[in-house]
Subunit: 294 residues, 2 copies
């Protein structure tokens, strides 16, 4: 087996120096002490800011230049771009460098990596840090973004053990707790607890916004609406990519959710107050229990 980069990485390439990519650079640098970070971003202004802020040491002109001397390559672009990015990474990758990503879906990215990386695929570790993204862009990047957060790795059968261990240790050095699961389980879980709520939230806002008298509705929307629709302010591009990438799961889950709406409609039509209260009570208990989980 060809050698793989050892710990700790000394040279990191970040492709997509946004909140997540930027924060990983800051966190890893803090953890390992000495780290050379080369960044690339399709947005030149953002890349310049990353350089200016010291999030990256060098702003590369293109992906190949960024990747050439890296021990570790972090792909932190919208999941719809992962394929083309990995195709640009592959030819410039050193024979021992590790590649990893942070995408909100794993199935589509793993598939793209398999196609793009060839024999380097065994050095690719699929990853997904569960870290807040209310703000975006490199100016929001923080070294402690992953502190006490979960990071999910979804290595596949072909993934070598050493790259996997190295990524686990890197994330733990950033303060995160690392969990592993299959690609399919990841996309199923996050499809329900993250992707579906975004779609449901977008759908309500869209429904209201496209009414003739939308203004009146918005005028009287208050705190409940605010919380429920906060995630409808999320990046349309990012969520287009995630929705398409996790399409199969989402189609299934939307259908399943529709059954809940059918059930509630039936209870309302039958004026079954007891059943409605029991339904809401079960949900409230579950929500409260979740809220209290450390």
């Amino acid at each position: 087996m060809p050698g793989t980069a050892s710990l700790p990485p000394r040279s990191l390439a970040v492709i997509g120096v946004g909140l997540i990519g930027g924060s990983f650079a800051l966190a890893l640098r803090e953890a390992v002490g000495e780290l050379r970070v080369v960044g690339y971003d399709r947005d030149e202004v953002n890349l310049a800011a990353a350089r200016h802020l010291g999030v990256v040491d060098v702003a590369a002109h293109d992906i190949a230049a960024a990747v050439r001397e890296a021990d570790l390559v972090l792909v932190a672009v919208p999941v719809g771009q992962a394929g083309s990015v990995l195709e640009a990474v592959a030819p410039a990758l050193s024979p021992t460098a590790i590649v990893t990503d942070v995408g909100s879906t794993k199935g589509s990215v793993v598939q793209a990596a398999r196609a793009a990386l060839g024999s380097a695929f065994e050095r690719y570790v699929p990853g997904h840090p569960i870290a807040g993204a209310e703000h975006s862009g490199v100016r929001a990047a923080r070294a402690d973004l992953f502190q006490d957060r979960a990071v999910v790795l979804t290595p596949v059968e072909d993934t070598d053990e050493l790259p996997r261990d190295i990524m686990r240790k890197c994330w733990e050095a950033c303060g995160a707790r690392v969990e592993e699961m299959s690609v399919a389980r990841h996309d199923a879980i996050f499809g329900v607890v993250s992707h579906l709520p975004h779609l449901l939230s977008y759908a309500l806002v869209y429904d209201i916004a496209t009414r003739v008298d939308a203004d009146t509705f918005f005028r009287f929307a208050a705190s409940g609406f605010r919380d429920f629709t906060r995630i409808a302010a999320s990046s349309p591009e990012m969520w287009r990519d995630i929705s398409l990438a996790n399409r199969d799961v989402l189609l299934l889950e939307i259908a399943r959710y529709r059954e809940q709406l059918d059930r509630l409609s039936d209870l309302l039509a039958q004026e079954d107050g007891q059943a409605l209260e029991a339904y809401f009570r079960l949900a409230r208990e579950a929500r409260r229990n979740w809220n209290e989980t450390p």
Copy 2:
């Protein structure tokens, strides 16, 4: 026309001394200086606390005792109980006292008031303060709860002008801005911006909580889930009542919302990234614009 209580009220009866009822007592007392507040609550512990905290001056043994000498009677109970409360209020009501409520639905309460109050119905002013209710109970009551908040009054054709003016002035004295609209419009608007989101939120939590592997889903639920489901921690009893009371609107709106889900499903099935992005973008713009409205 029989006389009506003049401004300011000197004696207030609060039936249901919770967050809203209690806050109205505190706010009105602060506004008018001298105000005798008699409270009644089916929960003796809550009523005792209201007395102890000085939210009410007198804790009455029953509704009739509370109402007997009041200029103004505020009904602040779950909307499903409004009917029986108004039936108890009616016989004890003085010939000039005003009755008002704070329920989240207006159609059902107005109907109950018409049946219960007889000729006193013209002195009933239907109302709904749009004020935060994350906490509940008299201990959460605050004099400034309605400061800069909207209060909607939905007087009907039979409602006398003087009681209506008096209620407007009372709410304005509490710091609120008062808006008027028809009962139907009120229930249509709040059905969409408040009632429906609560049902949608309950439905997602219920869906997850009733899965065999619910624990795993909750384990990876994060900030998006938190915001979207915050309102699923709301009172099951209150929302049973609201759902039943605004049933017709909710059945309509659930059906309408289902169309949005159908639309999103179609776009996903067709892998129409452009349309998905446009959909999410429209929603985000609307949400951002709403957020910025003072």
